[in-house]
């Protein structure tokens, strides 16, 4: 495989770059470590936010998932972009004005409760760990498939690089590597998409080309006995599309590693502009992904389905070896038949099993784009995994050193001591995340899918009410968070396939992915009602809530 040389080169080159940035961006203060000295310009912060946000799953799996869901795949596109509107309008400017380093610090101050701060810190750590395990796993899988290195070694290489720049440079190192990682991943995503758009339609803009290909795809799909690709609510019901999109949006706005990116700007104004640039850079990938989905699926149906197995294309042969695509000649005619029904069902006419991940990973080969592009896609997948992992690791390290160690264990710790604890926590977190990547607990993949619902039902109402409703009390916030978490968690545990006890969806047939939206609405209602019957928050909190309303003074010295 001559491609391996290019891939190795691309990986060495990009990793070398990340390490170079680490050496250049060392920090020596907690402010540098937690919020990059609050001096990141909005454009670069937007890029860093985009890289932070777009994980191995966004890069590798999302387009494939959409290819199989058709219209209903819109839940991911809507959910993971619409959340930025909530973030930019409801949270970012106010949390930036508040001016502290972490999300738990806001919860603790606003709800005048050290307990709330510690609970929030533990929630942030738990959410981040479930996420980070998937990233490390993603990096390991990319290494093992393309460079034929065992997954464990792949994870170890990824961990070492992340440890290097995250421990040395903290948020500053992470931010500037994320900027570079964004450039790598977006280039890697766009080039094959543009090439496929030209091949299929002659139009070099995937966003303009894909609706036309989608309607050609409709024809192919209905011929095979599927419902049309662009038909709505064939895979997911209307109610569930609505609720899953809502849970993903509010969950996005409640995830700590995204929120803290808005802490790193100099001013409130720059925090607002960060939102503009972040969604611009994210949107570039998210508007291209449905096009990649359509192109890949169309190509796949054209070049594979109904063709003799003996004459299958080269990319089919090479991906067969990885087990991502499989053919079983059920009727013995030597043709690759594809249709509705399970691959595992011997009675169904469906003879092909296709892993959704193949849609992006094999797109350079399907499009006949050659080894250099393939190498770029590999580097892009790794960039997506590492950039998200590092943002999550920072949340873990700062939640521990700032919200647990400094706030509880040793209140009088010097800055140097806190920084040392933060670096050590980071190193331990990287090691632990690596272990989770090599030995993934069986339920990790399923849990990640629900992290959004849990964040939507717990953090989101507490933060929004904390900003907009001065009357929300400690009791109100805590009862709302606990209720939202328990309700959503209970529904997931009873209903979710894989981890649940296997009940049928007992609430209007709502999917466990969408239940977070209901949990969130109930959480808001509980917080609001309990706050009305419990004693008013102290005057200092009223001052705090009023203070974050007005941008002036965000750059003023703040004692932490």
């Amino acid at each position: 495989m001559g491609a391996q040389i290019y891939i190795a080169l691309a990986v060495i080159l990009t990793f070398g770059l990340y390490i170079g940035i680490a050496v250049w961006s060392r920090v020596s203060t907690t402010k540098g470590f937690y919020v990059a000295g609050q001096g990141v310009p909005a454009v670069f912060n937007g890029m860093a936010t985009a890289a932070d946000w777009m994980s191995a799953a966004s890069f590798i799996s999302m387009a494939g998932l959409i290819a199989f869901l058709g219209f209903d795949g819109s839940v991911y596109l809507l959910g993971w972009t619409g959340g930025y509107v909530l973030l930019a309008l409801l949270l970012a400017p106010y949390l930036r004005k508040f001016g502290k380093f972490t999300v738990p610090a806001f919860i603790g101050d606003r709800y005048y409760s050290g307990t709330a701060r510690v609970v929030a810190a533990f929630c942030a750590i738990a959410i981040s760990f479930t996420y980070v395990a998937g990233q490390m796993r993603g990096a390991g899988i990319v290494f093992s498939r393309f460079l034929e290195i065992p997954i464990g070694w792949g994870v170890a290489v990824g961990m070492t690089v992340v440890a290097f720049y995250a421990v040395l440079g903290g948020m500053k190192g992470i931010t500037w590597t994320q900027v570079v990682q964004y450039v790598v991943l977006i280039t890697a995503f766009l080039i094959p998409a543009i090439a496929l758009a030209i091949i299929l339609t002659g139009i070099p803009v995937p966003q303009v080309a894909f609706p036309g290909v989608a309607s050609r795809l409709d024809g192919l799909m209905t011929e095979l006995g599927f419902s049309a690709y662009t038909a709505a609510f064939t895979e997911i019901s209307r109610l569930n599309v609505f609720l899953i999109a809502l849970a993903l949006m509010c969950g996005t706005a409640g995830l700590p590693h995204v929120i803290i990116r808005f802490y790193t700007t100099k001013t409130v104004k720059a925090a607002r502009w960060t939102g503009v640039f972040a969604l611009l850079f994210i949107g570039l990938l998210y508007t291209t992904a449905p096009a990649v989905a359509v192109f890949a699926k169309y190509n796949f149906l054209q070049t594979v389905v109904g063709q003799p197995y003996e004459q299958r294309p080269d990319w089919f042969r090479s991906w067969e070896a990885t087990g991502l695509i499989e053919f079983a000649d059920k009727d013995g005619d030597g043709m690759m038949n594809y249709g509705p029904g399970a691959f595992t069902d011997p009675e169904s006419a469906n003879e092909l099993r296709i892993d959704p991940d193949i849609m992006v990973l094999a797109s350079p080969e399907i499009g006949g784009l050659g080894d250099i592009i393939l190498a770029l896609v590999v580097a892009g997948g790794l960039a997506a995994a590492l950039s998200t992992a590092s943002g999550l690791l920072l949340v873990i390290a700062s939640s521990f050193s700032h919200d647990i160690y400094k706030a509880f264990i040793r209140r009088h710790a010097s800055e140097q001591e806190e920084l040392l604890v933060a670096r050590s926590a980071m190193l331990l977190a990287v090691l632990f995340a690596g272990l989770l990547g090599v030995y993934p607990p069986a339920f990790v993949a399923e849990v990640v899918a629900f992290a959004f619902g849990l964040a939507a039902a717990s953090f989101f109402p507490a933060i929004v009410l904390g900003i907009f409703d001065p009357r929300t009390t400690k009791e109100g916030a805590i009862s709302g968070m606990v209720f939202g978490l328990l309700f959503t968690g209970f529904y997931i545990i009873t209903v979710a396939p894989g981890i649940g006890i296997g009940w049928r969806p007992w609430l209007f047939g709502i999917s466990p992915q969408g239940i977070g939206a209901v949990g969130m609405i109930l959480g808001f209602a509980v917080s609001w009602s309990v706050s009305r019957v419990t004693p008013k928050p102290p005057d200092t909190v009223q001052d705090l809530v009023e203070g974050i309303r007005y941008p002036r003074g965000s750059a003023a010295p703040i004692e932490h």
Partner: protein
């Protein structure tokens, strides 16, 4: 030390100053609410609830409802954040609360 939220601006009495800040906050809330209503309309009403109806119309060679749910809504989301940033910075200047 936190800066005093009730900032003093030249030539304004305490009472006037507080009234001005209250007016600023009201404008802010109103503006945010309008933008969020558009967010809901685009992301839920048009992209999801009306999608099957809109898909009877042709756009860029494919069904309009499908295009809006997978691309159009994202452009609207971005525009909303953009308009918010411009608008809020202008309101900040108008009420003299900018940094």
């Amino acid at each position: 030390m936190r800066t005093n939220p009730r900032m003093h601006r030249g030539g304004l009495s305490d009472e006037d100053n507080r009234a001005a800040l209250r007016a600023y906050w009201k404008r802010n809330l109103h503006f945010t609410l309008v933008l969020l209503s558009i967010w809901f309309l685009a992301g839920y009403v048009v992209a999801i609830l009306l999608a099957p109806t809109l898909s009877q119309v042709d756009f860029l060679g494919g069904p309009l409802g499908f295009w809006f749910a997978q691309n159009g809504a994202i452009y609207v989301f971005w525009l909303l954040i953009f308009v918010y940033a411009i608008g809020m910075n202008r309101i900040d200047r108008e009420f003299d609360v900018e940094e």
